[in-house]
Amino acid sequence: MRTYLTTASLLLAATVFTAGNALAADPGITDTEVLIGDVEPLTGPPALLGVAASIGHKIAIAEANNAGGINGRKIKYVLEDDGYVTARTIQGAKKVIEVDKVFAMLGMSGSGQSIAVMPVLEKAGIPTVIDVAPVKFLWEPARKNVFVVGQSYEEGIIHLVNYLAEKNPGKKWGLITQDDDYGITVRDGFDSVVKAKKLNVVYSGNYKKGQQDFSSDMLQLKDSGAEVFLAGGIIAENIAMMKELEKLNLKPVTGIFWPGRIEPVLKLMGPAGDGIYAVDYVEPFASEAGKAFLDKARPLVSEAELKGINRYTMTGYAAAKVLIGAIERCGKQPTWACTISELEKTKNVETGVMAPISFGPGVRFSNQKLQIMRADAATLSFKPAN
């Protein structure tokens, strides 16, 4: 009996000792590695943004690893596909946190997916920097461990409409939006400027997500006599709208929003896309900063990945830079608490792809500075507008 008791006591002591050790360090850190996890849509149409964002993360990670890693530890990137399916985003997040045991998280798919995964991130307490879909719900209320790099859709659309209104006083306006959360946000932002500036809106349309044929919508726009047009589509929709306008020989002053500000879109629009205005918080690739980023990326990614680079690569890169910097500042033994504290102390961090990034006590949103740019069909690029 005594032998049994002794054995049981030893086993218990060993268990407590092991558990104690396990609790001492946060997961995702070994002597040689730091694991960073990410869940993105890598398949299906939204892969255009998910793949690009993941390439941005990879560039920042490769850059850090080439410089010796985080205080001697190499960064390992664990990427999971959610196919833009919310349930799968939740499962993917749980997998990278619980099974792969990563130290921190980046990215987090689309807006609906990010919102749904928030309880998982909050509960886990893992340091997270979101960069793909900045929506207010992610930072209002502020969550201790979740930081968002970017600018809100509302602010973006207000900035664009204000700019176009100043450049085109007294003109007639037309707007078309998608019948989803994104569309509502665009419309709300537009409406707020319409009230403030007393804009003359002669056409206001709404289309069903996935719609491909915009012939009747653009005919209505033409009949309305709109001179300034806000195309509230994302990618395929904006291309279809511009092509229809070209067919109708109509060339209103057109503004698009950043989810659709992707260079390949200009190629598909052709001459119809020349001169359209866009708003964004990342640098256009045609700018000096954009060119420098591409030069930096070229040796760090494969040829195929280089072709997949777009504006989301820049947002992903910036977020990863901020996160890596925060972990680095924690020294040889980084913990979640320290990383969160250092993320909070992030002040004017230069990434080269957008305005300096800052957070603060209770501030989890970087509130990036916006800029207007204009499409140049000849060079298939966006250039800063005056």
């Binding site: 959610d82 833009y84 939740i90 619980e98």
Partner: protein, 348 residues
């Protein structure tokens, strides 16, 4: 010498469980399911939760398609209606979660009357298209009724607290899903062995003959729709709680196809088939990934980064293989194994 599993009384024929070993194994399985949430990590537990929610939904669809033979391509419409009913009642109007669950069943049940009515005249492909149209209509209604549903912005849903028990934790929520799945299983099994269930099956096998036997086709078809939608709506509420955020985007049309795939793979018209089909379809991509990861890290990475495309391909492949080689589904395969075990070394 025992030559087969013969039923000698009507009671034996309709018994839910017909032998002590089955009772024993069922009890062991139930115990394992109760303990599992404490033993599994959060990722594995998420699969168990999804399986239980899917089982509930598949059992609901099984009443309509499996028992009554009415094909529905739009069951995701009932799923999303149930999720929204719960979210609106509980998150927006702060009602008790039990009222939310009741609403999640009742609202889709009412909606099913709208779809069910044409089913009195339509069959087969025509009915399938009608139900498909319903799922699109319901999405538009939800998006347009912003005053009630928040439109495309969606509604956040908290984990419930019922009778003083908090289901906030993952393990507790899995237990809630388990409880509802078991209740649904017993309900559908009891429906199947009742007069109503036999009427459903008679309609499925030959509705003209069923009418000649005195079965009111209109009433029973509508009843099948209402019951099926009620259960699917409850499943939708659970899914909405699991997602913590209810929006139209969270309920893609693919879920309807997945539900039909579950019934086909499991075995049409069998509650056990719906359960087995749900387990297989939910676990298939992960199981395949695990198998491939044993052979090559590169293949594992391909599965991780291209999971959704491969998942769709796997579903298609499995459906084709089952239709070609085992049209009676997993239940058919199970019966074959059992018969071989009982009759061995004889073939029949």
């Amino acid at each position: 010498m025992r030559t087969g599993d013969y039923k000698q009384t009507y009671g034996e024929l309709v018994a839910l469980i017909d032998s002590p070993p089955v009772w024993l194994w069922s009890a062991v399985l139930l115990l394992a399911l109760i303990v599992a949430p404490y033993a599994l990590n959060a990722y594995a537990l998420s699969f168990l939760t999804i399986i239980l929610i899917t089982v509930t939904g598949a059992l609901g669809l099984n009443i309509l398609t499996g028992y009554t033979g009415l094909i529905s391509l739009g069951h995701v419409g009932f799923l999303v209606t149930g999720a929204y009913a719960y979210a609106v009642l509980v998150s927006k109007y702060h009602m008790h979660p039990l009222v939310g669950f009741l609403g999640a069943g009742v609202v889709p049940a009412f909606a099913s009357l709208i779809v069910g009515a044409p089913s009195l005249r339509l069959k087969g492909l025509y009915l399938a298209i009608t139900t498909l149209a319903f799922s699109f209509i319901i999405n538009t209604v939800i998006l347009e009724a912003r005053w009630l549903t928040n439109g495309a912005r969606g509604i956040s849903v908290q984990r419930p607290e019922i009778l003083g028990i908090s289901f906030d934790g993952d393990a507790a929520f899995t237990h809630l899903c388990l409880g509802i799945a078991i209740l649904t299983l017993f309900a559908t099994l009891n429906i199947r062995r009742s007069r109503v269930g036999r009427a459903f099956v008679a309609i499925r096998d030959n509705d003209t003959a069923a009418r000649v036997m005195g079965i009111n086709l209109h009433a029973y078809k509508l009843f099948a729709f209402v019951t099926s939608a009620f259960i699917t709506g409850i499943s939708g509420a659970l899914y909405g709680i699991y997602l913590s955020f209810v929006s139209v985007e969270g309920f893609p049309f693919l879920l309807s196809i997945e539900a039909l795939a579950i019934l086909i793979v499991g075995g049409l018209g069998s509650a056990l088939g719906a359960v087995l089909g749900a387990i297989l379809i939910v676990l298939l991509p992960e199981a395949t990934r695990l198998v491939f990861s044993l052979f090559s890290g590169q293949l594992d990475a391909t599965f991780t980064t291209g999971a959704q495309e491969l998942k769709s391909m796997l579903y298609g492949l499995v459906i084709i293989l089952f239709l070609r080689f085992q049209p009676r589904g997993l239940v058919g395969a199970w019966h074959d194994v059992r018969r071989t075990w009982v009759h061995w070394p004889l073939r029949y």
